[in-house]
Amino acid sequence: MSPTLAAIFAPGFFTSAPVAIAASVGAVAAIVGGVVGVFTVIRGQSFAGEALGDIGTTGGSGAFLLGAGALWGFGVAAVAAVSVMELIGIQRPRGRDLATGIVLGAGLGLAALFLYLDTVYHNTTGATFTIIFGSLFAITSSSIPLVLAFSAVALGLIAALYRPLLLSSISPELAAARGIPVRLVGAGYLLALAVAVALAAFTIGTILRSAGRGWPVSFFVVTLIFAGYLLAGLLRPRRRAPITSLPDPTAAPAQS
């Protein structure tokens, strides 16, 4: 290992089991997130995605309270959350955000309650720190089949719904005119989003767990994500504008 890396990472960091698990689970979650995320952006439902991540805390802390697997907690909480969002049933984009906000508020309230109960019923010293630094959500290799199953559900849903979902994401009116059940397709997509976010939230826990010596875990998370983002920006293919139209002015500036 190079001296630079050795200053940051403990010896044997890359060969340790938790790191290997975190890397593989992270890779799977990244693939699922990439596929589902495209539709999140087209549909303008980024807020729902963000909220589901936060609501994962509710699931994770609830599962810890019951002694159930953390991934089940994330999954159940996210699916329950999207079900309530659908039940509120506002379809206009801004109205949808309202439904998301209501569910997010309830979810965070429940999360606070569960975290409090976790510290009361699990008489562990430093339980709060366990939770804050993520080791609460650490996983073992036995969770990997479940991770793969969750991924298959999310990717399978997107693949099955692909064409009707794409058209209803671009224009609900065009889709409805063709007899596509827009509402049902949207609900199916939210389900895939819930599963994808559950996976992602779970992965954050494993990454936090596998962090190096002495450095705050958030440093690694932020640095890695930022490095990936920069790399993606540099490697982005420069699409040439078609000859018949002017260059796209919105494509030029790098994103902030």
Binding site: V38, R163, S171, G179, I180, A241, P242, S245
Partner: protein, 282 residues
């Protein structure tokens, strides 16, 4: 106007009989009846709020209504393979990863589940359709980066690729400058004559459409009058439709519909939605 209605009068591609719709207790459409023959180019003219979009939603089966709607002689089904539709509102982010050819391809099979398998036949069909609407030049550009006129052409290709018998266009000229609008109208006239597709195109201004439409359906205060332009756009017919006097003026082949006498104007000022707007000569 230009061209006679097709002579083979067998089954109308669309027939509405006494269609009425009320939304929240307010009557939007009252006993609207008209028929469109195969290959006919029909203008649906009415001011904003006259019920044009509601009428389209009824034809598409998205809005429950009393009365009957027959497509090709049969009651409509949930999916309407006979109808192609171009909505009024279409806004796509320039960054949305969707190329022109993707949107046209979705017109072919968006109702099917699963991912479209690439095939030579599918690609050829999409290329032909892009060619038909002069969209080859931006076939691989993102739809969100196209101009309004270009997007209209792509949406028309999306609607036509499944070979419908009736094409519905909701205010396609509303957001276009005059040359782009004329381009779209000319394109529609050409394609529909070539492929014998009936067109129902809505507009709040009839003049840009007068050179190409065979018939007109004039919508005012929820009621409709239909026929050739000369039959419908007359002082007597439109006055009866609006429920008060309007004047129809012909100026160099263009038509101007003007609300009645000054006293009546003041009288109807609080019924703005039922008052005919003055059509501006372009």
């Amino acid at each position: 106007m230009s061209g006679e209605p097709p002579s083979d009068r067998n089954v109308p591609v669309l027939a509405l009989d006494r269609v009425s719709v009320s939304l929240a207790g307010r009557p939007i459409l009252r006993e609207v009846s008209f028929a469109i023959e195969p290959g006919e180019f029909t203008g649906l003219i009415g001011s904003n709020g006259a019920g044009k979009t509601t009428l389209f939603r009824v034809i598409l089966g998205l809005q429950p209504a009393s009365g009957t709607v027959l497509l090709d002689g049969r009651p409509r089904s949930r999916r309407n393979p006979l109808i192609g539709y171009v909505p009024q509102k279409f806004a796509l982010d320039p960054d949305a990863p969707l190329r022109t050819r993707d949107l046209v391809g979705l017109g072919l099979d968006a109702h099917r589940y699963g991912i479209a398998l690439p095939s030579r036949a599918r690609r050829t069909r999409i290329d032909e359709m892009l060619e038909a609407v002069d969209a080859r030049g931006f076939a691989d550009a993102r739809v969100g980066t196209l101009s309004g006129g270009e997007q209209q052409r792509v949406l028309i290709a999306h609607a036509l690729i499944s070979s419908p018998k009736l094409l519905l266009l909701d205010e396609p000229l509303a957001n276009l400058d005059l040359p782009s609008g004329q381009e779209v109208v000319a394109l529609l006239a050409r394609i529909t004559k070539e492929q014998q597709i009936a067109v129902l195109i809505s507009a709040h201004e009839m003049n840009p459409l007068l050179p190409v439409i065979d018939r007109i359906v004039y919508l005012a205060a929820g009621r409709a009058a239909s026929g050739t332009t000369d039959e419908v756009v007359r002082t007597s017919v439109l006055s009866a439709l609006y429920g008060h006097h309007v004047d129809v003026l012909q100026v160099h082949g263009r038509v101007l519909v003007v609300a009645g006498a000054a006293g009546e104007l003041a009288d109807s000022a609080d019924h703005a939605h039922t008052r005919p707007q003055v059509e501006i000569i372009s």
